[in-house]
């Protein structure tokens, strides 16, 4: 379970998060919606431990552990995964090698057996099939020369293989056509289960047609200003975010 209490954070002394309270129980998917500049990406970076984001108050625990005290790689080992809004290119680094190295680092940290190249390829091919991706996805360099849609799908491929217990999806739907969007949603839905929870950050309701959230929260000016069921997303789609800051 993810528990965020009174979380405040700054970037270069500018306050972005102004007191976030949010609980995501195991097995649930929560959507975070909100206008540009509301602090959605900041929230995902603070949860995954990016440098440059200073937590000034509040607490975050995941499965009872103090998430904020952990290094980014320790959070990954604990089961946290961030699907980047802008996935990063790693020139010269093969995708298969990258994902296997990551997977084995996480497995080591969890006290599990490492996967050899053959075992990994088997798993990876299965995931690729599930996500309707081309086979050469594994052979190419990480995100280098990938289209926007391919980059996003590569994030989902990594997620499928790393099998996190908490997935933070930062606008994974942006720049995707409807077919790609469905594939991404399938990837997330495939992980759904009692030990998987997710924070889906998005601008648009359309992703939530395919990943149906348990709860929807509206983030505005660094605070959660409304929470509700999936119907809240539909309401926002119809009326926009105007006036929410004041609510």
């Amino acid at each position: 379970m993810l528990e965020i209490k009174g979380l405040t954070a700054t970037i270069a002394d500018k306050e972005i998060l102004r007191g976030i309270d949010l609980t995501v129980p195991d097995g649930e998917i929560h959507a975070i919606m909100g206008p540009n500049g509301a602090g959605k990406s900041t929230l995902s970076y603070v949860l995954s431990g990016r440098e440059g984001y200073e937590v000034t108050g509040g607490s975050v625990t995941f499965d009872g552990r103090d998430l904020l005290a952990m290094e980014p790689e320790e959070r990954a080992a604990a089961g946290v995964f961030l699907a980047f809004q802008y996935p990063v290119e790693l020139p010269g680094v093969g995708n298969a090698n990258f994902i296997r190295t990551a997977l084995n680092a996480v497995r080591r940290a969890r006290g599990e057996k490492e996967l050899d190249a053959v075992g990994f390829l088997k798993e990876a091919r299965g995931a690729i099939k599930l996500l309707h991706m081309p086979d050469d996805m594994l052979k190419r360099n990480v995100n280098v020369g990938f289209s926007g849609g391919e980059k996003k799908r590569n994030e989902i491929l990594q997620m499928a293989l790393l099998k996190p217990s908490l997935a933070l999806l930062d606008e994974t739907d942006s720049g995707l056509d409807i077919d790609a969007l469905k594939i991404v949603a399938e990837g997330v839905n495939a992980l759904r289960g009692p030990n998987f929870s997710s924070l889906v950050i998005t601008h648009y309701q359309r992703l939530l047609d395919h990943i149906v959230p348990d709860r929807v929260h509206v983030l505005a000016a660094g605070r959660i200003v409304r929470s509700g069921g999936p119907e809240l997303a539909l309401e926002l789609e119809a009326h926009g975010y105007a006036g929410l800051e004041a609510a």
Partner: protein
């Protein structure tokens, strides 16, 4: 500072860095007295049982050296070297072993520890090794099987005695005795190294490799390597180097000469891991090396691949002289500097003949407070119609206290020549590191992965057997460089 980095730095302080080969072999050694004079040159020659012509050749070099000054144009700094305060010859005591069975077990153990078993049954399949310990070759494996196809692979001191015609014909023909200060010094006092001869039309059935180990204190290593590939011959050769960890600097001044005749190919790879000094810049090897290949024959090819992670100072420019029409020169280099290391390295591609081509791919990685310079010359001579060169020169900076410098010299005297130079300088981006760490990689592993990716174009040129080793070496060399 992240906890992981802190731990690694603590271990670094305790162990003197990630350098794994810094142990010393305790063995009785035979030294010539410190200092350099004509008598020492004569003594080394006598110890090797050399013929008169060889001694004369050395003495000529010795006389030339006396009138020379050490070069000051490179971007390196070090205190004056006292050339009279060094031993110029150090070898394990006793008569030279005639076979592996006679080699001192202590030495065999040393090479086992270095991961180079000399026992042919335990050796890496398909790789023949010449093991040079300080001033002498202690063993050369697979000589018999190579001899069956006419390949000569032996210590150069032996070649001088057994194959004098070949040595006389080619020694100093690519790097003349008076070529430069360090080459002259080497020519006067060189003690051992490898000799390779691949006869006409033979494709060498094994990888050949020489493993250089400096062990003795206050001793310089001056090795000499000569590789000749006759028409249509083909050989892949690799050298590796390590030394114990010591607080004082040690000098290594080698000369390597390659000769490729018509349609011959020589692929020369180096994994240089001399002791780089500690994190405060104490100790380490001064690696002042002259390497040059002559593409004498039509359509011959010489390819240099180097992975340079060691040495306090590296000064070397493996070069190609493209004399044969349609010949090809290649230089692929990864140079890593960390802490206080200094590297000034690159290549020279001299296009003399028509339709010659050269490729240069250099990847420099600087970390800590180190300085890393690429210095390269591409010279197209008037007769080299249709010559082509492509140069790619990339620098990667880790941290904000190191330096990367690129000094290309391009001289074209032929209008039909085409010369391209591309250069980039980048830092490991924060977002790349975070991306890797968010997937579970430690900071150190993330740097290793990104650096290996950066060097991929060069690493893929290494023989398969050594590529993995080189990748690990890169990661170890950069330990403690982030955070």
């Amino acid at each position: 500072m992240p906890a992981v980095t802190e731990t690694i730095e603590t271990i670094d302080r305790l162990s003197g860095g990630g350098y794994k080969f810094g142990f010393e072999t305790n063995i009785e050694m035979d030294f010539v007295p410190k200092g350099l004079n004509e008598d020492i040159v004569r003594l080394i020659s006598a110890k090797k049982g050399e013929p008169e012509w060889m001694l004369e050749w050395r003495l000529k070099a010795w006389r030339a050296w006396q009138g020379m000054e050490d070069p000051h144009w490179a971007r390196i700094r070090h205190p004056r070297i006292d050339y009279q305060d060094l031993h110029y010859y150090a070898a394990p005591k006793g008569p030279p072993p005639k076979s592996l069975d006679e080699v001192d077990p202590e030495l065999l153990k040393t090479y086992d520890k270095l991961g180079i078993p000399l026992n042919e049954r335990a050796a890496l399949a398909g790789v023949a090794v010449d093991a040079v310990f300080d001033s002498v070759s202690v063993a050369t494996t697979f000589r018999e099987s190579l001899a069956k196809v006419g390949v000569i692979f032996c210590p150069i001191s032996e070649a001088i005695r057994e194959h004098p015609d070949l040595v006389r014909k080619y020694l100093g023909s690519v790097v003349p005795a008076g070529d430069n200060f360090y080459a002259a010094l080497n020519s006067a006092v060189f003690s051992d190294g490898s000799f390779v001869f691949i006869p006409r039309g033979v494709r060498c059935p094994m990888e050949l490799s020489t493993y250089f180990r400096i062990n003795a204190r206050n001793t310089g290593q001056f090795e000499r390597t000569l590789i000749i590939a006759e028409a249509g011959a083909h050989v892949s050769y690799l050298e590796g180097c390590t030394a114990p960890m010591r607080d004082e600097n040690q000098l290594h001044a080698a000369v390597v000469e390659l000769v490729a005749l018509d349609e011959a190919t020589i692929k020369y790879s180096t994994v240089q891991n001399w002791y780089p000094g500690d994190s405060q810049g104490r100790g380490g090897i001064y690696n002042f090396v002259t390497k040059r290949g002559a593409c004498r024959g039509r359509k011959s090819k010489i390819s240099w691949t180097q992975v340079e992670t060691g040495s306090a100072i590296t000064w070397k420019y493996p070069s190609c002289i493209l004399q044969g029409e349609g010949s090809t020169g290649e230089f692929y280099s990864v140079a890593v500097t960390n802490n206080f290391q200094q590297a000034d390295t690159g290549t020279k591609m001299i296009h003399l003949a028509p339709n010659t081509t050269s490729t240069i791919v250099s990847k420099g990685i600087s970390a800590g407070q180190s300085n890393n310079t690429y210095r390269g010359l591409v010279r197209i001579m008037p007769r080299a119609h249709g010559a082509r060169n492509f140069t790619q020169c990339d620098s990667l900076l880790i941290g904000d206290r190191c330096g990367a410098h690129t000094v290309p010299y391009i001289e074209s005297r032929n209008h039909s020549a085409k010369v391209e130079h591309e250069a980039t300088t980048s830092k490991i981006a924060e977002d790349q590191l975070f991306y890797c760490r968010s997937r579970g990689l430690s900071e150190e592993d993330a740097v290793g992965l990104i650096v290996n990716g950066f060097c991929r174009d060069v690493l893929k040129e290494l023989p398969m057997e050594f590529a993995v080793e080189a990748q690990k070496l890169l990661a170890v060399s950069l330990e403690g460089s982030v955070g």
